[in-house]
C-alpha cells in the first residue's frame, strides 16, 4: 500500500462513488448536498505537475457530471479549484509551501481547516453559479454555496482525519 499511484487511483474511485451514490442523494432540507470529492484535488501531491492535476480534476468533474446529468458544472468547478490551488496553499500554509515540504498528515489542523474552507468556497461558488445560471438569482446561489460549504467542510475534515495514517 505504499505505491502513490495505487493510493491515488483508489482515492479517485472511492471518492467518485461516495459522491454519486451517497452524497448526491442526501438532499438535506431539500437541497443541501456535500461535495467531498474535492478532497482528491486538495490532497493531490504537491510536487507533481500542475498540468496533470488540471487534467485529472477535469476528468473527475466530468465523470460526476455524467452521473448526475448536470452538463459540465462539476468539471468547471473542479478545474477552477485545481487551478487556484497554489494560491490557497500559499495563504494557508505559508512558509511550508515555499519549501515544498507540506505533508498533509503532519500539518496543523488549523491551517488544514483554512485550506479546505477556501477550497470549498471557490469550488461551490463556481458550481452553483453555473448550475443556477442566472444573475438575478444570486441570493439563491449564495445561500446554496454557504450551506453546502458548511456540510462539505465538516465532512471533508472528518474524512481526512479518519483516514490519515499518522495519529495526531
Amino acid at each position: 500500500m505504499n505505491n502513490p499511484f495505487l493510493i491515488h487511483s483508489l482515492r479517485f474511485i472511492s471518492l467518485l462513488l461516495l459522491q454519486v451514490v451517497i452524497c448526491n442523494s442526501i438532499n438535506f432540507l431539500g437541497y443541501i448536498n456535500p461535495y467531498p470529492y474535492i478532497i482528491f484535488i486538495l490532497l493531490f501531491p504537491i510536487r507533481d505537475n500542475r498540468l496533470t492535476l488540471l487534467t485529472i480534476s477535469f476528468i473527475l468533474g466530468m465523470l460526476i457530471d455524467i452521473f448526475s446529468d448536470s452538463g459540465g458544472v462539476h468539471a468547471a468547478a473542479a478545474v477552477s479549484l485545481a487551478y487556484s490551488r497554489p494560491v490557497l496553499l500559499k495563504t494557508s500554509f505559508g512558509m511550508l509551501y515555499e519549501h515544498q515540504s507540506i505533508k498533509f498528515n503532519l500539518t496543523e489542523i488549523g491551517s488544514l481547516i483554512t485550506y479546505i474552507t477556501l477550497g470549498a468556497l471557490i469550488h461551490h461558488l463556481v458550481l452553483f453559479s453555473l448550475e443556477v445560471f442566472s444573475i438575478s438569482e444570486i441570493l439563491l446561489i449564495l445561500k446554496k454555496t454557504l450551506f453546502s460549504c458548511i456540510f462539505t467542510i465538516v465532512l471533508s475534515i472528518l474524512i481526512i482525519v479518519l483516514f490519515s495514517r499518522n495519529q495526531r
Partner: protein, 273 residues
C-alpha cells in the same frame, strides 16, 4: 514564432485551464438548451450499471411504501372495473377484435432521481431494447413524472417536470382552458401553470390534468391541485401555483406510455407548414 512558443510554454497551465474550463462551460450551456444535452447523460451502460447496483439494495427499504401504493392503485382500478358499463354494441366488439390499442403502457424502475438542482433528471432501467424511445410520457399511479429525453440500449433518461426546461401541456379539469406546465426551480412540491386565459374560472383546490394536445400524454392524467393563483403582469393570463399529486422526491416504479398515434398526429400537424 519563437515568442509565440515561449508564450505558450510559459503560460501552459493557464492555457490548459482556460481550455478545460471552456469545454465544461460549453457542456453546461448546451445542457441548458432542450434536446441538445445528449452527450453528457446518465443513460449509458456504466452509470446505469452503478445505479442499478445501488438500487438493488436500496429498493428493499421502500418495499412497504411501494406495496401500499400498489394496493391503492389496485383498489382504484378494481373500482373502475366494477363500475364499468360495457356497451355491447357492434363497434365495441369490432374494436376489441382488432385489438387496436392507442396507448401502450410499460413499467420501469427508477434507478436515479434528483430534485435538488434546477434541472432534474431521472434514470430508468428500460431502454431501446424494451422499445422505449424519445418523447414517451412517464407517469406514476398518482400523476405525471416527465418525458423520456434520451435512451440507450438498457436505460433511459427522463426529463422530470421538476426541470426548468420542461414544458408540458396541461388544462383545468372542469373547463377546457389550457396552459403550460413549468417549474421555477424552487420547491419540489409545487409546479407552475402559466398562460391560462383570464376567462378561465380558476378556483383554489381545483384539479389540473394533462391536456392531451401534445400527443405525448393521454388526456386526463392528474398533475395536481391549485394552491394559489395571480394575474400575470400583462393582465391577460393567470399564473397558477400547483401542488403536485406526486411526491417527486419518492418515485419508485413508473409507467412509460407510448402513444401509437403520435407519428400520425405529428405528420398531420406538420403537413400544412
Amino acid at each position: 514564432m519563437q515568442q509565440i512558443f515561449n508564450f505558450v510554454i510559459k503560460n501552459k497551465t493557464f492555457l490548459l485551464f482556460l481550455f478545460l474550463f471552456g469545454i465544461s462551460l460549453a457542456f453546461t450551456i448546451q445542457s441548458h438548451s432542450y434536446h441538445r444535452s445528449k452527450f453528457i447523460s446518465s443513460a449509458n451502460g456504466i452509470t446505469g450499471g452503478v445505479y442499478g447496483m445501488v438500487n438493488s439494495v436500496d429498493k428493499y427499504f421502500g418495499l412497504e411504501i411501494e406495496n401500499s401504493k400498489l394496493a391503492e392503485e389496485n383498489k382504484r382500478l378494481r373500482q373502475l372495473l366494477l363500475n364499468l358499463q360495457i356497451n355491447a354494441d357492434s363497434s365495441f366488439l369490432q374494436n376489441k377484435e382488432n385489438n387496436n390499442l392507442n396507448y401502450v403502457v410499460r413499467t420501469a424502475e427508477v434507478f436515479k432521481n434528483s430534485y435538488a438542482s434546477p434541472n432534474n433528471y431521472l434514470t430508468i432501467n428500460k431502454g431501446e431494447k424494451d422499445s422505449i424511445y424519445e418523447d414517451f410520457g412517464v407517469i406514476t399511479p398518482k400523476g405525471i413524472v416527465g418525458i423520456i429525453d434520451n435512451t440507450s440500449n438498457n436505460y433511459s433518461r427522463v426529463i422530470s417536470i421538476l426541470n426548468k426546461k420542461s414544458r408540458i401541456n396541461a388544462k383545468l379539469k372542469n373547463s377546457n382552458h389550457i396552459g403550460s406546465l413549468e417549474w421555477n426551480g424552487k420547491s419540489p412540491e409545487f409546479s407552475q401553470l402559466t398562460d391560462v386565459s383570464k376567462f378561465a374560472d380558476v378556483k383554489i383546490g381545483d384539479t389540473i390534468e394533462t391536456g392531451g394536445e401534445s400527443a405525448i400524454f393521454p388526456k386526463g392524467i392528474g398533475i395536481g391541485t391549485i394552491e394559489s393563483f395571480q394575474v400575470d403582469i400583462t393582465g391577460d393570463t393567470y399564473n397558477i401555483e400547483i401542488r403536485l399529486f406526486n411526491d417527486m422526491t419518492n418515485v419508485g416504479t413508473v409507467y412509460v406510455i407510448e402513444n401509437k398515434d403520435r407519428k400520425e398526429i405529428l405528420e398531420l400537424e406538420n403537413s400544412d407548414e
